[in-house]
Amino acid sequence: MTSSVTLHQLVPWIVGAALIALPFVYGDPYHLHILILILIWSFAYTSWSMMGRFGLVSLGHGGFMGVGAYVTALLWNHLGVSPWVGIPIALVCAGALALVVAYPCFRFRITGHYFALVTLALSGIVLQVITATRDWTGGSLGYTPSRTTGSHLAALQFDDKTTWYLIALGVWAGGLLIWRWVDRSMDRYALEAISEDEDAAAAAGVNVTFEKLKITVISALMTAFAGAMYCQYQMFISPDTVSGIAVSLQMVFAVVVGGIYVAMGPTVGAIITIMLAEGLRVGFGTKAVGWDNLVYGVLLVVFIIFLPKGILGSLLARIRSSSKQ
């Protein structure tokens, strides 16, 4: 028994060491690029599932991601503010936005459908503001942070993939740690009680508004950070790739497919969605435009009907139930 526990504890360390060692053993730039994208998006999806797992389904996370990406890039291009300062400012903006929208929502008990649609409005607003201020943001044509002429470190711009891979790996691991921290905290029980029954939770002494607000702000900050990371890595952002309703739905989709209630679920979702999109792109070339979303759409419907816990969630549930027998 004790040996299995120690093995169980060792697995994350072994996997972590293997992941860190990977780029030094195998340095194919294309595959590293795919891995970096998977890690960054996994982090974004994990951020969404932080609140999604408690029944707080937000369709506004595209908005937070857009704020994270655009504020960082705009500060850099127009004011020359280093992303080391710009990203915290972007996070503050996203956090403030989350507070402004979420506080009244929770205060006035806007839940379920209504909450999803209010947050949908939020991502719509961010998208329209980015498009409307096209003189600064480039509108729907997208926006490129200017290449640094000085220090790469100060500008957080690196040309080689290995550096980015390690950064993305760290960010992703950080996301999992936050997930785990919430999972082990009292807030988790409070939030689960709230998602079951708000009145009963409030009667039991849970500060409903505060707990929900806390997890929403954490989730928004993480999502904005993911947006900033994506911007710094890709060096190109457009309203369609980091903001708007499509991005919000994409997050929901990946998390639902991977598994919303387990820590690695969003990561599995990111692996599946990105591999699927890349596989179709490589296999069919430009003819594949639209096919990946076609498959996503069908899978999303099928998953919600037949496997609402997601792939990983269902697998783990099956393993657990068979080990109990």
Partner: protein
Amino acid sequence: MMEYFDIYLLEAMVNGLLLGGVLALLALGLNLIFGVIDVVWICYAELIMIGMYGMYYLVQYYGLPYYAAAPLTILLVAFLGLMLHFLVIEPLLDAAPINQLLATGGVLFFLQSFATVAFGIDFRNLGIRLPVLSIGDMYFSYSRLLAFVAALAGMVVVYLFMTRTYMGTAIRAISQDRQIMALMGVDTRKLYLVTSALGGGLAGLAACLLVLQYDVHPFVGLSFGPITFLIVVLGGLGNFVGGFVAAFLFAEIISLGGLFSDLEWGYVLAFAFFIIMMFIRPAGLLARRS
């Protein structure tokens, strides 16, 4: 100087009114589905997009006249609504509401990319250009007027159906109490299917009207879908009159906001107005405070 300003203002207001008619029609379809089946079709605007493609192909490819293509399109989208309910919503009727919402989100993805794959991403239009009506210094397009009138007519037809027929009465009853109606011997499944077809038909009508004003492309749904949801929520989900009022309010804000600046700022204003109203009247514009 002041005179011109007033004319532009008046023109924008009338155009807002015309836009409001179509938005009210969209809101009515969604409200009907929500009020009766208790499901939000996130993919509602995508049904309209498919309908617009239907119009495009019937008119441009098969050479049908506009007024012959319109009923066919309405039937087509009504059938799509029926299938949507049968294939996606029915298995999820007992699932959490948020799962239903997300499943229709999957349908949204599916329809968008289906249109991309099947029809390509080119912008297409009917090639019908209706004349522009000028009153004094103000210009209004006939297509908008037609849309306004047809939308109002569609709403009257739905109103009559709901109040004057047995089926309509049953639908209204089921929206009041889901459980009891089944106990009264009403076939809820049939009513849900009829409602879905009716909601689809309204989307089809909207498609026939919108195709006169906008080019069709696979993502055209995104330009009026979100607005429709906001209107429906602003009016109070399932509240027909509220949706009607909210549609005109929204249309005026967009139209007047667009007058002073870009059209996007009109949308930004409308969205901001929505968020503020959610805090003042979370249950909808016309809801009584409990």
